[in-house]
């Protein structure tokens, strides 16, 4: 037992110190900083009305408070109180408050259903059984070299910063489970090791929502959708994202051949 250091000359010294404490920990430090001060900056920067209109866009007005919420630097209650205090019209902030609700929902469900944190809540609704999915993440995904430009960029965000835009998380999870047919658990474990806001309940049940083991249908996407929301942020050139460059019916029939054929 020993008392650890509390004062550092600069951030690099702090990072070196933590590296010595945990030589087994992978990767480098994120540019995203911890602490109450950083959290307050983000809290005061929230524009809940704009969030509702732009949150799906890569450059949308998102709060980036999730790492601070996950580590209890601030509570859901405090974030909500901050947002509702100056707003008279409930409708204008409904999207923001509802997103906080998702975290509360997952947490409540996990408290009563811990067995489902790492097990399928329901069967896959993809035409495949759980055993049809790979157990481990392929190496090209782990190193961000899938050959799909936008996916590799999102993997870069995950590995380098520990933060990925929520919409990009959905793309990544969908790509892993449905385009590569890997079990959601493998992806969930990978996300948890990197994400600064990694929370088992929110993370794993969100993966199950994408996978369709905790939702009514699988979530999938195409390049047109990525281009609509992340144009200019990641490379959406068709020639560099061929696997994703198809219509929804085409992708549906390719990804889920055991389901009823979709026309269009």
């Amino acid at each position: 037992m020993s008392i650890l250091k509390r004062h550092f000359d600069n951030r690099n010294d702090l990072i070196s110190y933590v590296k010595e404490l945990a030589p087994w920990a992978e990767g480098n430090a994120s540019k995203i900083r911890g602490g109450q001060r950083e959290c307050k900056k983000r809290l005061t920067g929230i524009n809940a009305i704009k969030y509702g209109k732009t949150r799906n866009y890569g450059n949308g007005s998102v709060s980036m408070l999730s790492p601070y919420i996950s580590h209890g630097v601030i509570t859901l209650n405090e974030v909500r109180n901050h947002v509702v205090k100056d707003i008279n019209e409930q409708k204008s902030i409904e999207t923001f408050i509802r997103e906080l609700g998702w975290r509360d929902f997952w947490s409540r469900f996990a408290e009563n259903n811990k067995v489902f944190l790492w097990n399928d809540v329901e069967d896959y609704k993809t035409g495949y059984a759980s055993d049809d999915y790979q157990e481990e993440l392929p190496e090209d995904i782990l190193v961000g070299d899938t050959g799909i430009a936008c996916i590799d960029a999102f993997i870069g965000d995950l590995v380098n910063t520990g933060y990925v835009h929520n919409h990009a998380r959905m793309y990544l999870a969908s790509y892993i489970v449905h385009f590569r047919r890997v079990k959601w658990q493998a992806g969930a474990r990978w996300f948890l090791s990197h994400l600064l806001d990694g929370d088992v309940a929110s993370n794993n049940f969100s993966w199950q929502w994408i996978a369709s083991t905790f939702s009514n249908k699988p979530y999938f996407f195409n390049l047109e959708n990525v281009d609509r929301y992340f144009h200019g942020i990641v490379d959406t050139t068709p020639s560099r994202n061929r696997v994703l460059d198809a219509s929804y019916p085409t992708l549906h029939n390719r990804l889920f051949p055991n389901l009823e054929v979709q026309n269009g």
């Binding site: 008392i3 702090l14 404490l21 209890g72 209650n77 408050i97 998702w102 929902f105 409540r108 309940a201």
Partner: protein
């Protein structure tokens, strides 16, 4: 001399809990438990984020095994912010075997009966939205 020990864990990196009244004497610690963090498989990014946050809190960061350290503490009251996180709940169960623990619960987000289970978000939200837009969620317990 502090008569209560507040154990700040990685899912509650803050102060300002209702019980931390100024009139009470608290000593606050975080235990940097190698085994716990290694088991969580946290990357360096996350560990730096946690340590950086700890530096802004008025507490001691103690390096070692959680149970060993708490065992050595001669204390009457151990106070821990509650967390529903499964790894922490497992740790809490171990701590309860050696110390009497008082948990601090945060104000909930919405005023809902904890025993009612919602299997789909829209069912949850239909109930939760009645209080989710109110300051302190209508003071839910």
């Amino acid at each position: 001399m502090a008569d209560k020990l507040l154990l700040i864990h990685e899912k509650a990196l803050r102060f300002g809990f209702d019980l931390c009244d100024a009139s009470e004497s608290f000593r606050a610690i975080h235990i940097w438990d190698d085994e716990y963090y290694r088991t969580q498989k946290y990357s360096l990014k996350r560990l730096v984020f946690i340590y950086e946050t700890l530096l802004e809190l008025p507490l001691e960061i103690i390096h070692g095994n959680t149970l060993d350290i708490l065992n050595e503490e001669n204390l009457d009251h151990l106070v821990i912010p509650y967390s529903g996180d499964q790894a922490l709940k497992n740790l809490f169960s171990e701590i309860e075997k050696i110390k009497t623990v008082h948990y601090l619960f945060e104000t909930c987000f919405a005023n809902l009966d904890r025993t009612v289970e919602f299997k789909r978000f829209f069912k949850y939200w239909n109930q939760a939205k009645k209080t989710a837009f109110l300051n302190n969620g209508d003071r839910c317990a």
